[in-house]
Amino acid sequence: MLDLHAVLDGQRLALTRLLTQIENQTEAGQHALAELFPHTGRAHLIGVTGAPGTGKSSLVNQLALGYRKTEAPKKVAILAVDPSSPFTGGAVLGDRIRMAALSGDAGVFIRSMATRGSLGGLAHATAGMVQAFDAAGYEIILIETVGAGQSEVDIARLAHTTLVVEAPGLGDDIQAIKAGILEIADILVVNKADRPGVETTERALRSMLQLAHPVAHVFRHHGQALDVQATAPESEALWLPPIQRTVAADGQGVPELLAYIAAHRVHLEASGDLARRERARLAAELDQRLQDALVEHWRAGAQAGELEQALDALLARQLSPQEAVQRLLNGRKG
């Protein structure tokens, strides 16, 4: 049903159908991912997150244009994630509105995705869809999420380079960039930098950065703190998140931002962080799948009502949960 040769060949109809199977977490999708796995691990994954209204979609549009309008254009995939309505399960996904300039370019593939409620499931599906893009030969994969909570942090963990986008005039600057979101930032972007209040926003970010990255206080023998901006990231073992101003509406600051992303990639490779992150990510995936498989294995061999009986015993306080687990596992061997 799924033509994986066509996917590897870069055929878009095959890819789009595969993406649906992965998103719906079907068996066919899982099987395809297993087949495609050897072809993954080549793309640079860039996460773009930030509060609603900071201009993430416009920025992603500009970044993609930047990757396309060079002497050696790179194939770009965009995965734009927006929340589903918790009441109806439906969603209106509007990120494409800001990406009209990318239309008609066969080297760009934009896919919108709704969160569909389940957090763990979302992270799973996103990881799978990114692998599909990777296998299909997309070299740059931009993952756009609303920076509002744990699910976004989980998705950002997928990315090699995470951009956190902020904009002036959105009210309380500190509120918008909770410490958890800020800590995942490899690069901070102050978008809409032509608006008043840009200095205030940047100053707030800088002071938050110093809280979030206490290790960044590297003191030289003069006892003088190194300026965050003054460090040359690619030559240092430690990456200090730079702050870049942009105006996504007209592309100001985007070349500099692209240069920071490239520098971060160089840093990841030179410092060994790339291999470390990849190992940690795969370890987490392996662990999760192992747990799922073990539980599945146990269920397959379980006696009818075994679990219910254990639950009843727990409820009556005849067994502790610890003892119940022991009994359920041991009962199998006996």
Binding site: L13, T16, T88, G89, G90, A91, V92, I97, I110
Partner: protein
């Protein structure tokens, strides 16, 4: 399949800038549990077909008030087919003269809705058409 979400592209081809109707329909479809990919104003048929392909949409809803439906609709149907997406159901809302409706349906448009159509009806018919195309 356990949960097959209906994915719909809502687009406004052509040059008129009135997207109120499109937005009302987009909301109604969302409230019916569908995933609506809203692409905005001034979309070319090529842009709409490309969005349908990349989003693996089940249906495309076009809002056309400009009178260009007899040019736009066949072109979009043709592009969808060229992309291998002849299963995608195309719906049109807007100002469509009565005499054009049968011609559009004959071309392969799944439904045509004028002003004042209850959104429930659009939801119901879209669900039925998509279920038929997948089955």
């Amino acid at each position: 399949m356990a949960e097959q979400k209906i994915r719909v592209i809502v687009a406004k081809p052509g040059l008129d800038g009135h997207d109120r109707g499109a937005k009302v329909v987009a909301r109604a479809l969302r409230d019916a549990g569908m995933e609506v990919i809203y692409t905005g104003l001034r979309q070319t048929p090529e842009m709409i077909a490309e969005a349908a392909l990349q989003e693996d949409a089940h249906a495309v809803g076009l809002s056309i008030l400009s009178g260009a439906h007899m040019e736009l609709a066949p072109r979009i149907l043709e592009l969808l087919k060229a992309n291998g997406q002849e299963n995608v159901k195309v719906f049109i809302g807007g100002i469509i003269p009565d005499e054009d409706v049968p011609r559009l349906l004959e071309l392969g448009v799944a439904g045509v809705y004028g002003p004042g159509t209850p959104t429930d009806q659009i939801v119901k018919e879209m669900r039925a058409a998509v279920a038929g195309a997948q089955g």
